[in-house]
Symmetry: C2
Subunit: 162 residues, 2 copies
């Protein structure tokens, strides 16, 4: 159960110091939670997780840290359409492969999936090339997301129809 926060993220240290930022307890703690959980977390999720061990870290620090980490490309900000942002370790900085999200509109559960990435990449490559040429738009990122009903919610709904 014990973590080694101090030495956990040598990259973080490099990243931050390299840009003149300081490596603080709060920043390490926040990154550690994100790494350990390794799934999209809201600011509040992070607050809850950290609060036990670091009661003095407030939302201000969390939001400011997330903004910083996002700016540095270490975390990605996600939106699942429920009015609160989620954050996860950026693609490429985790062992997890590139993935996307299936968002259940009924129970708000989110399923990560890593399938069809090859097809997706093919489509993206073409689209990005074409859009860049046609609109002179330099694509930096994309969002591909599916919304619908997860198995449980779908079944529950089917039952109601009977």
């Amino acid at each position: 159960m014990q973590k080694k926060h101090s030495k956990n993220h040598p990259e973080l240290h490099t990243f931050l110091r390299g840009h003149g930022y300081r490596v603080t307890t709060g920043r390490k703690a926040i990154l550690t939670v994100l790494s350990d959980i390794d799934i999209h977390l809201s600011a509040d999720d992070i607050y809850q997780k950290i609060h036990k061990r670091y009661p003095y870290i407030g939302f201000t620090t969390i939001y400011r840290t997330l903004e910083l980490l996002e700016r540095m490309g270490i975390v990605s900000k996600l939106d699942f359409g429920d009015g609160r942002a989620r954050y996860e370790i950026a693609d490429g900085l985790t062992k997890k492969p590139h993935h996307h999200h299936l968002v259940c509109l009924h129970c708000r559960r989110v399923i990560d999936y890593t399938d069809f990435i090859k097809e997706e990449l093919e489509f993206l490559k073409r689209a990005e090339k074409g859009l860049t040429e046609k609109y002179n738009f330099a694509i930096e990122s994309h969002v591909i997301q599916f919304y619908g009903a997860c198995e449980q919610c779908f079944q529950r709904n089917e039952k109601h129809k009977e």
Copy 2:
């Protein structure tokens, strides 16, 4: 310049009455703005547009109407990542072909594009089929969106580097 609000949306009348809802001035006005502009508008955009002619229509009505129209599949709610929702006439209820959005992260401009829809459909068809089978997830909608730098912002940025 003159509009014929009253007879503008026979479909709306059918839709609403068919579900026991009433056809009110506010609802007609809001749908009319969305149809006339035919581009993603925020609640505030809509408020500004109709406020001149219908000063008594407030945000409450706008939000409630948009929610209703969305629930009925007449308008789509969009998210461009800037913390405020946009709304546009749903695909299929407008003459415009299926489209997606390029969002400039720097000036927040949004470009509609209708290219690569065939490739996209192919990819989506496969992905949806596969995801439905693998996760028993009933896909209802999807979001495909590109973020980046529009021509102007990109050039401005390049200049700074020199």
